[in-house]
Amino acid sequence: MDQGTLSERKKTTLRISLFVACYNDTLFPETGKSVVRLLERLGHQVEFPFEQTCCGQMHYNTGYQPEAMPLLRRFVEVFQDSDAVCIPSSSCVAMVRDHYVKMAEAAGDFALRRDVEVLLPRVFELTELLVDQLGVEDVGAYYPHRVTYHASCHSLRSLHLGNRPMRLLRKVRGIELVELEELEQCCGFGGTFAVKNGEVSAAMLADKLRCVTATRAEVVTAVDNSCLMHIFGGLHRQGAGIKAVHLAEILASTEEGAS
């Protein structure tokens, strides 16, 4: 977009490019489908560029920074002509927003850095896109379940999403929201941390699971499937009977869909 913010144009139809994230694509396709249904229901046009793969977060954070460079280039190439890029994963958004400029600079590629800087203001996490850019909180969802919300570390301390996810959840019809104790504590996932420091990660997860089960919720939700994969994996092992569902899937649910 050349001029004006997205919010100024929120009444018009937007062409939104979905970066679904490699692990959602492969492991959690329901999240991607929900984003598509939700945005289309709100009257926007969604496109999915097939050339997309991964933002490079896992490589970058684990110390394989040179391996992440081609993935940065790929992301920029695939999305540089998009009006808006929607990513239903706050850690991927954090990767793009916090590291891409620095990486391009470190590579000495100033043309790439400029491309990144031009693209960045159009890259949004799902709840940022909905609340800030599209100006909606009531997305017309219906979800008759007892739900607790887990704030992922990147959503809190990198994206500073604040109460955006809760504002969206509060407008969902039929939902019963229960507050999670120790909301700001990491669940212990941390990407390769969960494998490299499996035991410490497990101890952190145990604390998180105690808080989640104490809510007696049916569903735990978040804006990152990575945390949810970790939390759900632990809940399932314990036989806790609590499901993990990405926020997009709750927001995409409707009365018609439920009946």
Binding site: C22, T26, F50, C153, C186, G188, G190, G198, G233
Partner: protein, 478 residues
């Protein structure tokens, strides 16, 4: 140059140390309780300071400026301190610092020394060097004394005995002081410590301290504390020796305004430290007759040379990052195998060590960012951790690990849509031996660390992109 960080050279990896510590429920309860109390107090006194964020920015800017002109400020400190009657010594590494300190003590015929507030002396392994030279060091900070009498190691940079509770401290005191009876109320324990320490304060003629700040403008040195024991240690002996890392210098006396507000609120949740000792050189009528400052490099200039990680040297040792860190809160400080524990230790120790012995430390973090959020001098610890991970990977490249091979293969997969989609298909086929009742419960190798306590959802039959493809086709056909 031989850089040393206490006993860290012989320390096991973080993972191994954590494995043992995670089984120590008493220790974990103590750590959890203490860090909960401090973080709660900190949050309260930080919230009441309306310009907290501006103060953090200012402190960070002062530190960045000082490091930019470190050579000049250190030379200025040497000149002003000397003019005030102090003696300044320069030590390139641990061995040189230890040699200087032992020679100074021996010159005065000292057989004992009272010590306070000096983590840096642990960094250079001073106590064992002193003992080997026939000099007995007495730790006089209450927590350091508990550690010394209990033949233990510090587990926190502000509250070194945080992993011990009152009953355990009582046992240590009874054993070490030869007491037949002792209560475990705080008053009982401090009374015992007071009686034990007063005797040392009055008897020992050589004092040894660390420093919170060295003031280039005045040549002054500042130590802050809660107990008053440092005040005793700094004023009663005839000779005072202070050991300080070169990053402890600040330009002016006025800069203390910021740091004396940030440090106590971050460290102990107090508005002000109960004791703020500031001294400049020597004076004829009071205090030590002779004052020495040993300025220690021990790897610091090497950190300074690295643009990506030099902010590590901003650290004012408040310990806020330890208290808030979800990893530290599980394991306590001993897992970090160094006097510097927690997130700051995870970036400082491997850099002081030139990564030789501490390659596990940059990975001892989930990168949750809580440390950066509380840091009063805005050290972006997660960014530095990632930078150091890059260094670990580069240095391990010669022996290509299984991890490196896997990561590189995956990176190659991600650089092509065709390969990515092929990998998705392969994964779906490859996972089937591990799937039962719709879940994966056991995985081989490193991935077994995941399935030790967590199940894993298998890949569903259709990827998102194939769903999209199908939908496009339907739309097209319709």
């Amino acid at each position: 140059m031989s850089v040393r960080v206490g006993e860290a050279a012989r320390a096991p990896s973080f993972q191994k140390a954590a494995h043992t510590l995670l089984k120590d429920d008493q220790l974990r309860n103590n750590v959890r309780h203490a860090t909960d109390v401090i973080t709660h107090k900190r949050a309260g006194v930080v919230a009441e300071q309306h310009d907290w964020q501006q103060m953090r920015t200012t402190a960070s800017a002062i530190k960045a400026h000082t490091l930019r002109y470190l050579d000049e400020y250190l030379a200025q400190f040497e000149a002003t301190c000397t003019a005030a009657g102090g003696h300044v010594h320069w030590a390139a590494d641990a061995d040189e610092a230890n040699r200087i300190i032992v020679e100074l003590i021996q010159k005065h015929g000292g057989r004992e020394v009272i010590k306070v507030k000096t983590m840096t002396s642990d960094e250079i392994g001073l106590n064992s060097v002193l003992e080997a030279s026939g000099i007995h060091p007495h730790e006089t900070d209450l927590a350091d004394m508990i550690i010394q009498l209990g033949h233990d190691h510090p587990s926190h940079i502000v509250v070194p005995a945080l992993h011990k509770n009152r009953r355990q401290v009582r046992e240590i005191f009874m054993r070490a002081m030869g007491l037949k009876e002792l209560g475990d109320k705080p008053e009982d324990l401090t009374e015992a410590a007071r009686r034990y320490l007063r005797e040392k304060f009055l008897k020992v003629k050589i004092g040894f301290s660390g420093a919170n700040y060295l003031i280039a403008e005045t040549g002054g040195v500042c130590v802050v504390e809660s107990e008053g024991n440092a005040r005793m240690c700094l004023t009663l002996p005839d000779v005072l020796i202070t050991l300080a890392g070169i990053e402890k210098v600040i330009p002016t006396f006025g800069d203390l305004e910021v740091f004396l507000q940030l440090l106590p609120r971050s460290a102990t949740g107090e508005r002000m430290n109960p004791y703020n000792s500031l001294w400049t050189g020597v004076h004829t009528d009071e205090g030590p007759k002779e004052f020495h400052v040993v300025l220690l490099d021990n790897g610091r200039t090497r950190i300074l040379a690295d643009r990506e990680s030099r902010e590590t040297l901003h650290c004012i040792r408040c310990g806020a990052c330890l208290n808030t860190c979800p990893v530290y809160r599980q394991t306590g400080g001993h897992a970090y195998g160094s006097i510097y524990a927690g997130p700051i230790g995870a970036i400082l120790t491997p850099q002081l060590f030139d990564m030789e012995h501490s390659q596990s430390l940059p990975y001892a973090s989930s990168l949750c960012g809580a440390c950066y959020e509380v840091c009063p001098v805005k050290i972006n610890i997660p960014e530095v951790l990632i930078h150091l991970r890059g260094r670990v990977v580069r240095e391990q490249q010669s022996g290509a690990s299984l991890e490196a091979i896997g990561m590189k293969a995956m990176a190659r997969v991600f650089t092509s849509r065709r390969r990515f989609e092929a990998a998705q298909r392969l994964g779906r086929i490859g996972q089937w031996p591990f799937v039962s009742d719709g879940w994966i419960r056991h995985l081989p190798g490193m991935l077994g660390n995941w399935t030790a306590v967590r199940d894993l959802q298998p890949m569903p039959s259709q990827t998102f992109r194939n769903w999209w493809r199908e939908r496009e086709k339907e739309n097209h056909d319709a």
